[in-house]
Structure formats: structure tokens, C-alpha cells
């Protein structure tokens, strides 16, 4: 059983373009679907409301860790922290890292999320329950939106 998520994707865009999409708070918000209140600053919290239809009441929050230009962007957060009545801040966060690497066709982006061994068991179960119905529909909405606005 893996306790880490790792994904690699090749993007047909230069590293500088991908870096901007990741670290400019407005651009990040576009594809991540969150209306951030201000720029990312290492060591500082970043927050904003989720912009997915039906989830606008949910506040997204992360703490920016590293910003090494065109190489590494990382933050800690609480995955699935979507219940406004729960204070997640006392729970151990996971670490999200985006690593960029130039390749002939553009950029190789490696995403890792680690630290799941510390996520409380009840939260893991909850994430599974809450996600099953609602998110599937939301994902369809997003796909439609992206298709309309290429």
C-alpha cells in the first residue's frame, strides 16, 4: 500500500509558462478552481473560496512552502478539508510538491503528495463517503466548462 501520490504529466508548454500557471495566484485559481485572495508567498497561508458550482461556501487553504523559480513549488494543506464546521488546523497536513523539468516538447511536471500516514483514519473514511456522489457531477461540470473555454 502506497502512502504517497505521484503523478507525472508532459505539458506542451515551456517551463516558464507552466511556472506561471502554478504560482500566479489568479492563474492557479483558474485551473484549480479557487478564487484566491492574494499572491503565493513562501511561509504564508494562501486562501480563497472554491469556485466549483455547489462548493462556493468552502474555503480553500494552504501554506506555501517553497517557490524555487521554474523548478519547485510546494505547499501543505488538508486534502478534503471541505466541511466548514470542522476545524482542520489541528490535524497534520500533507505536502504537495510540483516539480518542473524542461523536455524537448515542453515541460515534464511531477506532482507528489505525501504525509498521508498522518491523516486521521476518520478523515480518510469521511473523504471517501462525501466524495462519491457529489464530486462526480462537479467534475462533469468542469469538463464542460473547459471544453467551452479552450
Amino acid at each position: 500500500m502506497e502512502n504517497k501520490i505521484e503523478k507525472t504529466i508532459e505539458l506542451n508548454a515551456p517551463v516558464a509558462r507552466v511556472w506561471r500557471a502554478l504560482t500566479d495566484y489568479r492563474e492557479f485559481g483558474e485551473w484549480f478552481r479557487v478564487a484566491l485572495e492574494g499572491p503565493f508567498v513562501p511561509g504564508q497561508p494562501a486562501r480563497g473560496h472554491i469556485t466549483w458550482p455547489g462548493y462556493e461556501h468552502v474555503v480553500w487553504q494552504a501554506i506555501v512552502q517553497k517557490m524555487e523559480p521554474e523548478r519547485l513549488f510546494s505547499f501543505t494543506w488538508h486534502p478534503y478539508a471541505v466541511d466548514p464546521s470542522v476545524n482542520y488546523s489541528s490535524e497534520p497536513p500533507t505536502l504537495v510538491e510540483f516539480r518542473l523539468e524542461p523536455i524537448p516538447t515542453g515541460t515534464r511536471l511531477t506532482l507528489t503528495e505525501s504525509g498521508f500516514e498522518n491523516v486521521p483514519a476518520h478523515r480518510r473514511a469521511e473523504a471517501f463517503r462525501m466524495n462519491d456522489g457529489g464530486w462526480t457531477q462537479q467534475m462533469k461540470n468542469i469538463e464542460t466548462h473547459v471544453a467551452q473555454k479552450p
Binding site: 503523478k7 500557471a21 485551473w31 478552481r33 486521521p120 483514519a121 476518520h122 473523504a127 471517501f128
Partner: protein, 115 residues
Amino acid sequence: MSPKSHKRARSPRPQQAILFAALGDDTRLALMAKLVSGKPASIAQLGAGSSLTRQAITKHLRVLERAGLVHSVRSGRERQFAFDPRPLDAMQHYLDRVSQQWDQALVRLKSFVET
């Protein structure tokens, strides 16, 4: 098995580190192998055919109990132990879910930077 007869593991938040530690031992894996059939077993039954003392088995069961993998059921004067798959299921589901969300986010990122 009525819910009343169940005694849940002491730790309300078994974490994955505890889970892995609990499973990282040959004796405990052997005990788990006997319990995964789904039928609760007593310490005497678990020790049958092995050289393990009652004390050693109790100690190992306690570790499994703390990880939420085993819970004890009182049956008359004897305690019986049953396998509980939920910690393993919850962990896998959770990672699957987070993983799927990233897949979708990365697809959105791709279309965002490539246009």
C-alpha cells in the same frame, strides 16, 4: 455478534504508521492470516499448533488492536478476537480519491497551459 459485544480498539484514530508497524511482523501476520477468514478466535485457538505462549499472543494482539485491525469480542468468560478490515479499506479509498482529484486537476492544468 451483537454490537454490544464488540469492544473497539482503544485508539480512535489509528494512523497509517501504526498500521504498517502492526503488519510488519511475521508473528502478527501469521495471527492475521488466521483471523482474516472472518471467524473470531480465542487466544487458545490462535496459539494451537504454534510454540507461542499465551502472553506473547496477547501482546501481539494488543498491537493489532491498537491499529484497529483486530477487535475483541467477549464470549462468555473468554475473549475472542476478530479481524476488522476497515482501516485497510479506508486508507485505500482515501488515496484513490485524492489521486483521482489530482488526475482531473492536472488535465485542467494541461489544457490551461497548452492553449
